[in-house]
Amino acid sequence: MLKGKKLLKFPQKSHHSSPNGLGSLVAGFDAHGDGGEDENGVVYKELESGEELETFEPFGLGSHGDVDDHQNEGTSYVKSDAGFSEIRAPPKHKVDVEAIDADDKRSDLDYELSQKEINLDKLQRIASSGIPDGGGLRATIWKLLLGYLPPSRDMWEKELRENRLKYARLKEEFLVSPLHCRQSEFSRRKDEAAEGIDQQANAHAAEPLERQEISNEDHPLSLGKASVWHKYFEFAEISEQIDRDLERTHPTIKFFSGDSAISRKSKANVEADSFSCFVRLISDSVDHFCEQMDNSSVGIRSTLLRLSELLKASDEELWRHLELTNKVNPQFYAFRWITLLLTQEFNFRTILRIWDSLLSNPHGIQDMLLRVCCAMLLCVKTRLLRGDFVDNLKLLQHYPEINIDCILQVAQDITPDTSSFHASL
């Protein structure tokens, strides 16, 4: 039931409220964002107005790894803001940002985004209390927070272009049939041959499926794990599985069904940008998804244990009740919380608010995620202490609607080494 709530929506049509047309540059694709042929004639025209952005390194996915880039992530942008003029005095420290109403917050954020060099520290601080809806503000800020957009606005266009290219190449590498590769390989050799480089190859090239190729060790029926065909079929199967799951998870979303008004080109760009953001999003928790890592110190079991320890340190009574008396294994509820970043536990609006906090946490997504998970337990403490195994598992697998700002405040206040923490609810 809860599941029905998590339907993804795409960011609203861009408004014009942002400085320099920023909003329409980075808002989610809008319906008319018909790749390139766009009106306005503004600077960002060639970015296919209203599309998502930026570059990434497909580390961990193969040969392009650029580890350095990722290790520096989050710190490399924390530049001195000496040159930053503070006319607008955006909130400093942990001021009670909640008090600032959405309009003020929006203009603060707009101001930060209009800087040539965006100050990520400031952005994190403002965004952590929630980003106002609309105007594509969240779309831009999340990308910056993820490090997908560099803080320097001049770089956006270039990185965006490069990234999309990279994604296209990546797709080709993994999803194009070896037969196609082979044929293009042939045509390349043919070209070379035509220039007299390789006469021998020329003789073969006329016939893509010639004898020599078929009798080759590697063919579609090859059972060898190293076979490119084996790999290809494996990837194709995964791809089909994803399609099946998308269809049943998001049957109403036009973007996935193919028959929408969104142009193919802009769809491809959104796909590329989303992929890159996704890669960054899970970069500090990829190991949760590898079976081989399950028992390692970075695997999902360790993370579940960390949650358990966090709870114990925050509220030993509750921990004792849940784990010793009830024997509710955190895996039974928190596995989904953690691996899906809480997307199945709340409605879409609430998820956005939670993610504002996750993405703007200076100590990383996972750090905040565990605090939020722990806070979710603390906030239903009274009920949990009353419940038995069945009651509590039901409660935690169908988390009640509770004011999310309270949960996030509790999460914010958790310090792992405080043993006397008490939920304020």
């Binding site: 049957p251 079976e291 399950d294 008396t325 899906l340 038995d388 069945v390 598992l393 697998q397």
Partner: protein, 215 residues
């Protein structure tokens, strides 16, 4: 010590004679969660893939006994298999589900899932039920009823074909399983032990009633 559980007079603890744990397993997308949702409620909807495990309770009366079924709906995706071993513990019934329109889901039952059961199930006598789902898509069927029956025989399990969409045979599936479990003395024993505790608990709750359940 025992006091904590006592006051949970809400939801699940209405009276019952027997309590059984049932596990649903099978490949991703065969309709395990749909079967369960159809069985528990009346809705027929498209469901997201299960992540980890989902957990549901059903109270029903079979053979004159009030039963509480605790049904563990597991994730079918390969990724989750190493994590699911703990779900098998103490299950009295296991429902193995395949999709009659996708052959690999059928072959995986004998190649993978039956082995998991053997490996992880702690109950020697645990009752199995083989279920071919999605028979409403008759035109797309690739696994025949006869093949299903043959596999059921091999696995020593019960067998039914059903459709979560049309509700055909869904209730029968869980009822037949429960009936069969009640025929096995060791399982009946386990189930009634929990049942007795429950009845005791009910009484105690009456005694100590008035204890503030405010919410």
């Amino acid at each position: 010590m025992a006091s904590t559980g006592l006051s949970s007079s809400n939801s699940s603890s209405s009276s019952y004679d027997l309590s059984f744990k049932i596990l649903l397993i099978g490949d991703s997308g065969v309709g395990k969660s749909s079967l369960l949702v159809t069985f528990i409620s009346n809705s027929v909807e498209d469901l997201s893939p299960t992540i980890g495990v989902d957990f549901k309770i059903k109270l029903l009366t079979v053979g004159g006994k009030k039963l509480k079924l605790t049904i563990w709906d597991t994730a079918g995706q390969e990724r989750f298999r190493t994590l699911t071993s703990s779900y098998y513990r103490g299950a009295q019934g296991i429902v193995l589900v395949y999709d009659v329109t996708r052959r690999e889901t059928f072959t995986d039952l004998s190649d993978i899932w039956a082995k998991e059961v053997e490996l992880y199930s702690t109950n020697q006598d645990c009752v199995k039920m083989l279920v071919g789902n999605k028979v409403d898509k008759e035109s797309e069927r690739v696994v025949s009823k006869e093949e299903g029956m043959t596999l059921a025989e091999e696995l020593g399990s019960l067998f039914l074909e059903c459709s979560a969409r049309t509700r055909e045979n869904v209730e029968q599936c869980f009822e037949e399983l429960a009936l069969k479990i009640m025929e096995v003395p060791s399982l009946l024993e386990e189930g009634s032990a929990v049942g007795k505790r429950n009845i005791l608990k009910q009484k105690q709750v009456h005694h100590t009633s008035g204890g503030g359940c405010c919410s």
